[in-house]
Every structure is written in structure tokens, then in C-alpha cells.
């Protein structure tokens, strides 16, 4: 049987500071295609890994605007165009009364786009991912912190990278089968 190819190498750390430091060194060493896995958001980690700002806020803004305009237009269309009715002698376009629903629609659309946008960008739901092949990775949702350098990284070299990771003071380095 043929040996499975490697997704990358995984280094396990015992506390966040070590991980962040390691991330910095790895980046200085020229590694780019890497990711860290932690049981909770660790400050400075993403910058250490060199991630830029996310597009989530933009998505939320667009969602909000769409909800706002859509919400008001729906009411305007129903009350003025679709079926104009004299309700208690009020004007057909009683815009002050339409504010509430407009507002609610804005919030609803924005909130939905925030969550869905976040999930989409994260590529979730994702039933399986190579890192789960590492038994000890289960601790990533408890009290262990992992740094993974992926094999697709140009500078990746199984032996060299393993040595490099070892040098970062991690508990141990494991192969991640893909």
C-alpha cells in the first residue's frame, strides 16, 4: 500500500504565548501557508500569522442596506401601489408608521448576513478536515494550542520544517495526513 501524502506538520504547544511566539518565528522564517488552532481566540495570533482584515463587516453593511430599502419598499408597494386602501383616513404612504418594520427588516437582514457571511468565509460547515486525522488534535478544543505548516507552502520540506518546528519549543510535532 502506498503511503498517504502529507497535509502538513502540526506542532502542539501548551499555552497561547508560546504559540504566538512560534507563529512570529515561523513567519519570519518565511513560512506563509500555515494556520493555528486554539480552544479560544488568542490575542495577536492572527496578526502573527499575517492575516489581513476580514470582509465580514462589508457583507453586514450591504445586508443591512438591502434589508432597509427592501423593508420600506415592501410596505410602500403594498400600501400605495398594490392595493391602496383608505385606512382610518390616513395617507396611503404613512411613512412614519412604516419606520418600525423598516428598522426590523434592516436588523434581520444584517444579522443573517453576518452569520451566514462568517460561515461562508470560513467554509463552514465542513464535515471533515485533515487536521482531525491527528488524534491529539481533540485537545485543540480543550487546552492545547496547535501550529500547522501546510505541505503546499513553497518553503515546506518535511524534514527541515519538522526540525524548525521542534526548535520552537513545542511539546511535539506530528504529521497531518491528508
Amino acid at each position: 500500500m502506498k503511503r498517504p501524502s502529507t497535509y502538513g506538520l502540526m506542532a502542539e504547544f501548551e499555552d497561547p504565548e508560546k504559540l504566538v511566539a512560534a507563529a512570529h518565528q515561523a513567519r519570519d522564517a518565511g513560512y506563509r501557508r500555515m494556520d493555528a488552532y486554539t480552544p479560544f481566540p488568542v490575542e495577536g495570533l492572527s496578526s502573527a500569522l499575517g492575516f489581513r482584515h476580514t470582509r465580514v463587516p462589508m457583507i453586514v453593511l450591504i445586508g443591512g442596506i438591502v434589508g432597509c430599502i427592501g423593508g420600506f419598499f415592501m410596505q410602500y408597494y403594498i400600501a400605495v401601489i398594490d392595493y391602496p386602501l383608505n385606512i382610518g383616513g390616513r395617507p396611503l404612504n404613512s411613512w412614519p408608521a412604516f419606520v418600525v418594520v423598516t428598522f426590523e427588516m434592516t436588523i434581520l437582514a444584517a444579522a443573517l448576513s453576518a452569520v451566514l457571511g462568517m460561515l461562508a468565509l470560513n467554509g463552514l460547515p465542513m464535515p471533515h478536515h485533515p487536521v482531525f486525522n491527528v488524534p491529539r488534535f481533540a485537545l485543540a478544543s480543550k487546552d492545547r494550542f496547535f501550529l500547522v505548516i501546510e505541505s503546499t507552502d513553497p518553503k515546506f520540506d518535511l524534514q527541515g520544517t519538522r526540525d524548525f518546528l521542534k526548535s520552537l519549543g513545542c511539546r511535539e510535532v506530528m504529521d497531518v495526513e491528508s
Binding site: A36, T38, P41, V100, V101, A140
Partner: protein, 459 residues
């Protein structure tokens, strides 16, 4: 390990938001253990059985309601709204604390929210679910409830967007959806934790599906935090808007006692008031039963008591303004209504609510009482009662004697009114029992983060 945690609390002010001596591991283990531990505690079984029985009562009451009609309730002309609306407003009010705690306190960067926000949010969801039942049940023809939503239909007719009831539909459903999202997003990392800890296959699969393959990637955490923060930002105005809209149900009308501009602010305050009361009523026994004093410390209880006191004062101000304006406006009907509210047939209700909502909470000024868990618990229950009475007084006394003395009447609830009301309380508790049994009632990930920020990271 619990023994170690249970240090006697001398002063709440210095007491930390989480007791010393916790590690990432211990936090994870203790909280997830509640869910994953083999066997179910007897207390849970008893509690759930009781509340589930009450749910059956609710179902029976609803079945009878649908077969016979809303005539089984005490409502009449002039008092066409009764328990249904009272309970709706009451539950919605309770449903405010959760999102408020998670969202507003998050924005205000209040660390102490961490260990209570999860079940506060759950509580919110269940309260809103209970609330949302009533507008549907109280319809004369409930099977047409969907006519309140806009959708393309052959009748070519749509909802009437000047009506506060339609605003309600949108506000409440939006609120429920956003709260649900907020709650679920918060749950994802913990679901991952449970997935990785679940002893049995079934658990692993279910939690695995719910966790959606979360693996705590730094990139994910970054987007996650942004999204969570934005949700909080969105939920904050929403939570304020919801009870404002609910208050419009009354304020928009022309009825003396309803037609009041002060309603929105003091309804919101009242909502938070009752919401925190409910959180306390739930948190206090929970921390005892599951030995969570380490997470839900005196600090939490005292802070929530303070919030209660503050909102209680706003509500008191609302009452005073209402009476003052009724007199100052010189409006015959307003003033007559106010006098009738105080000294009319329903006077006892009014004074009871004053005692429950205004006088009793003043005891919280006293530090000793604030720090006495039992006292806070009792006061919270009194406040909950008071807030229910408030809605009763607002709905009934305004309706039963309005403009034309010829059509004055009285209202008294029937056994079916009570069955439905108590039934929803049962439903609320049943859902809550299921929640604490199958989901982490405290956000593990957030507590871990909290540990790094406070003292607690010893490895």
C-alpha cells in the same frame, strides 16, 4: 475538586468574576461534564417530569381553545384583551435580559457577563417562544395567523403596516431569529468541545453535525469574533426596539391609560427589570445544584441585583410620570382612568404592583441584602410577580372603564386563562431543563479566554 472551589465569599465587591484555581482543562471538564456525565441527576428527572406535566396541561388548554373558541376565556366587550396579552408582554419582557446581557454588556466589555450569558440567552429564547404563542392563541381564528405576514396570495391583500400588531410580528420574529443566531454562534466552539469529548458515538455525531466542523482555526476565530461583535452591535438596538414596539400596542391606541408617550422607555426598563429578575431566579438555584459557584460568583449576583435596582427606579419614575401627566393634562378621561386604576375595583391589583415593583426592590440599596443570595432570590420572584401585575393593571383597568360609562364592564380570568398561563411557565421550564441537560450552560470558550485575561492560567 469542587471543595477546592467553594471558598466562602467575604465581600462581593472584590470577589472575582471567576473563582481562582481554574485551568483551561478544569473549566472544560467541569462544564462539559454536566452535559456528558453518565446518568441523569434525580433532581433533573423530577424537575423535568413536573414541568413536562404542566406542558400537557397547556396542550389540553390549547386543544380546547381551538375547538370551542376564545370565548372560554374571561374576555368580553369592553375588555377584549386579557391574560393572553398580559402574558405575552410579560414573557417578552423576561426575554430581554439574555440578549441584553450578551450584547450590551459585551459592547460595554463587562467581563462578568461571560459565565451567565449562555443560559441567559437560552432563557431569552424560551421566554420569547412562550410569548410568541400568545398573539397566535388569542386570535379569534388562529388558523389564519399567517395572514399577519406579507406573502403573495390569491386574496391580493396584505398586512396593514400601520397596525402595531404587525410591527409586533416583525419585531418579535426578528428578535427571536437574531437571538437564536447569537446564541448558536456563541455555541459553535463549545459544540466542538463536546464533539471532541462525547463518550458515545451518538453524542459525537450529533454534536459533530451541530459544530459544523469547527476546528478553532485562527483565521476562523478572527472572522468569528468580528461577526459576533457585529451581532452584538445589531442586537443592542433591536433589544431596545422590541419592547418599544410592544409598548406601541398600547401607546398607539387612543385609550386613556394606554395612549401615553412614556410607555416605550419604561416598558424597556420594565423588560430589563423582569429579565434580570428571571436570570437571578434561574441562576441562583442552578449554581447551587450544579456547584457552579465558581463561575457564577457573588459578583454576578450583586451586579444583577444592582441592574434590577436601577431599572426598577426607572419603572417607578414611569409610574409617577403617568399619574402626573394624567392629572397635569387635565384630560377628563385620563384622570378618571387614573383614579379608577388606583381606587376602582382593581385598586388592590394596582397597589400590589406598587409594593412588588417599587417598594420591595428598594431593599437592594442595602449591601447586606444584596449579598444574601436567598434575599435576592425572593426579591427577584416578587419583582417577577409585580411585573405581571403591572401588565394586568395596564391592560385591564384601561379597558374596563373607558370613554362611555354605558359600556363599562369588568373582567375576571377563567380557569382556562390560568391553565394557559401556568402551562407556558411549564413549557419554559421544560425547555430550560432540556437545555442544561444537553448543552453547556456556560460558554466554555469564553471562560477559557477569561482565564487568560484574569489570574487563572497555571499549567
Amino acid at each position: 475538586m469542587h471543595e477546592r472551589l467553594r471558598g466562602t465569599v467575604n465581600s462581593s465587591e472584590q470577589s472575582p468574576v471567576i473563582e481562582p484555581g481554574y485551568t483551561f482543562a478544569s473549566v472544560t471538564d467541569q462544564i462539559s461534564a454536566i452535559v456528558l456525565r453518565r446518568g441523569t441527576p434525580l433532581g433533573w428527572i423530577v424537575g423535568f417530569t413536573v414541568s413536562f406535566t404542566v406542558v400537557m396541561v397547556l396542550l389540553f388548554a390549547i386543544a380546547y381553545l381551538f375547538t370551542v373558541g376564545v370565548g372560554i376565556w374571561g374576555i368580553n366587550i369592553p375588555v377584549a384583551w386579557g391574560f393572553a396579552i398580559i402574558n405575552f408582554v410579560w414573557w417578552i419582557g423576561i426575554g430581554h435580559a439574555g440578549t441584553l446581557i450578551s450584547a450590551i454588556l459585551l459592547l460595554l466589555n463587562q467581563k462578568w457577563r461571560t459565565s451567565i450569558n449562555r443560559f441567559a440567552e437560552a432563557m431569552t429564547l424560551f421566554a420569547v417562544a412562550c410569548a410568541a404563542m400568545f398573539p397566535l392563541l388569542h386570535l379569534g381564528r388562529p388558523w389564519y395567523f399567517y395572514w399577519l405576514f406579507p406573502y403573495p396570495n390569491t386574496m391580493g391583500i396584505q398586512p396593514q403596516f400601520r397596525s402595531p400588531l404587525v410591527w409586533d410580528v416583525f419585531a418579535v420574529s426578528t428578535y427571536f431569529t437574531v437571538s437564536l443566531l447569537f446564541w448558536f454562534v456563541g455555541l459553535i466552539p463549545d459544540l466542538a468541545t463536546l464533539r471532541d469529548r462525547a463518550p458515545r458515538r451518538a453524542g459525537q455525531i450529533i454534536y459533530g453535525i451541530l459544530a459544523m466542523g469547527w476546528r478553532g482555526s485562527a483565521r476562523h476565530w478572527q472572522r468569528y469574533e468580528v461577526a459576533y461583535l457585529l451581532l452584538a452591535g445589531l442586537a443592542t438596538p433591536l433589544v431596545v426596539s422590541v419592547h418599544t414596539v410592544v409598548s406601541f400596542d398600547f401607546a398607539i391606541s387612543i385609550l386613556p391609560g394606554w395612549h401615553t408617550t412614556i410607555f416605550p422607555p419604561y416598558f424597556v426598563a420594565g423588560a430589563i427589570y423582569s429579565g434580570f429578575a428571571m436570570v437571578l431566579v434561574l441562576a441562583i438555584p442552578l449554581r447551587k445544584f450544579y456547584g457552579l459557584e465558581g463561575f457564577i460568583t457573588m459578583r454576578h449576583i450583586v451586579n444583577m441585583a444592582k441592574v434590577m435596582l436601577a431599572t426598577g427606579l426607572i419603572v417607578a419614575y414611569g409610574y409617577m410620570m403617568e399619574v402626573f401627566m394624567a392629572w397635569y393634562s387635565g384630560d377628563t378621561f385620563e384622570w378618571a382612568m387614573t383614579k379608577n386604576r388606583m381606587f376602582g375595583p382593581y385598586g388592590p391589583w394596582y397597589w400590589a404592583l406598587i409594593v412588588c415593583n417599587i417598594l420591595t426592590p428598594q431593599m437592594l440599596w442595602i449591601k447586606k441584602i444584596r449579598e444574601r443570595v436567598a434575599a435576592v432570590f425572593v426579591i427577584s420572584i416578587v419583582v417577577l410577580t409585580g411585573m405581571w401585575l403591572e401588565r394586568y393593571v395596564i391592560v385591564i383597568t384601561s379597558l374596563h372603564r373607558d370613554f362611555l360609562p354605558s359600556s363599562w364592564g369588568m373582567y375576571s380570568a377563567t380557569v382556562w386563562d390560568w391553565a394557559t398561563f401556568i402551562g407556558t411557565i411549564g413549557l419554559f421550564l421544560a425547555l430550560l431543563f432540556l437545555f442544561i441537560r444537553f448543552l453547556p450552560m456556560i460558554s466554555i470558550a469564553e471562560v477559557r479566554a477569561l482565564l487568560t485575561e484574569t489570574e487563572g492560567k497555571e499549567s
